[in-house]
Assembly symmetry: C2
Homo-oligomer: 229 residues x 2
């Protein structure tokens, strides 16, 4: 909780990569600490946002809910990742809601103080531009998947990503199946059925949250939309 501790965190944050210790010190100086239980709301879509957040521990989901209560998860952020920046640079309302998926500690960077610091360090602006660009890229993917691909293809793509990030053919799901279905833009029932079908057809072997990829190429074809379940 002391300054030194915060410095350790900030040094490991991609967004702040390559910044001087003195500058990180200044950043740490403006950050406010927050501690939240599981399932607590950080902010709602439409709330006025006067700063952004950084995940120090735990996990946070960013999502949109519909009038009828359906929910679509846009991102899940973990250690060292930032969210809520959009409200800092454009408009002042958060475009989506944020809620903790587990007990979490967050750092909050107030807009005004952050912008003042940003003006002094062009490198940080570039990092921020890179971050937002990557996020745009991921949104392009999401739109592509939602609009151009079916649920099995999306799920296959997700599995391939998980496998690639861990560099193994076996991994365990990073979200409960209910949350995963909301992330993929579907519902638990459909996810369950697709999972079963993939298993039946020998593409994967699933055991609870443990997934083993059996037929990597088959999954890739499915993800590309070349083949179907």
């Amino acid at each position: 909780m002391n300054t030194q501790h915060i410095m350790d965190i900030l040094k490991r944050v991609d967004l702040f990569d390559g910044l001087s210790d003195a500058y990180l010190e200044a950043l740490g100086g403006i950050a406010r600490h927050m501690s939240l239980d599981k399932g607590q709301t950080v902010f709602f879509a439409g709330d006025a946002g006067n700063g952004f957040y950084l995940v120090r521990s735990g996990r946070v989901k960013i999502f949109k809910s519909s009038f009828s209560g359906k929910e679509h998860i846009l991102h899940v952020f973990g250690f060292g990742e930032a969210f809520g920046e959009v409200a800092v640079f454009a408009g002042d309302k958060f475009p989506a809601s944020a809620m903790t998926l587990a007990a979490s500690e967050l750092l909050f960077f107030p807009r005004k103080a952050f912008l003042e610091l940003l003006a002094k360090e062009p490198e940080l602006a570039l990092q921020m531009l890179a971050l937002l660009s990557k996020r745009l890229r991921s949104f392009v993917n999401k739109v592509e998947e939602l609009s151009l691909k079916e649920v099995p293809a999306r799920l296959a793509g997700h599995f391939l990503l998980l496998a690639a990030s861990g560099n193994t053919s076996t991994f365990h799901l990073d979200l409960s199946k209910t949350e995963l279905s909301k992330y993929l833009g579907t519902i638990p029932e459909t996810l369950s059925r697709v999972l079963k079908k993939m298993d039946d057809q020998g593409l994967i072997h699933g055991n609870g949250a443990e997934i083993e990829i059996i037929d990597m190429q088959g999954l890739e074809e499915l993800a590309e939309g070349v083949s179907k379940l």
Copy 2:
């Protein structure tokens, strides 16, 4: 085509708002001019991108196409709008494809030269951050609409936007109905049916590309998902 002419353009570009003449001069100095016919490809998704573009005249659509040939239009950009920036700041591949919807003139800003200039002008970095943030916001909306709303709601929302931007209850569609359907994540047949239904129910009156909103509140309820067609 001469420098003066380019300066006139640059001065009217939101992204470059508030920048000094000298700086705009420098920007104009690195820009390359391009002239394209209708239906020409500016770049394909996955192409290496070593710069971004600004629309000087005409219109350009940014889209993703699926393996099976379906296409989803992410944005349509007109005068003074920039596209392809993602490749400048993150990775080097364009996440989506770009094609002219009409004969167009573009300005191309090479990455390296642009980044050098950017480093000298923090204000431009802020404008760029604002631009990307706005774009992120629009993507959040798109995902919300695709995943959480049905076609009638998306179309109603689009109409309300068009009406709001022109401040009139009558307007004409900015895209052909086929292109509009690709923008809304559906197909021409469905769009046609929904349009007819809206007309039948007295929400709008359509005549070719001319649309008149009859029942604004009804449309709003439809867009929100409160009511259905």
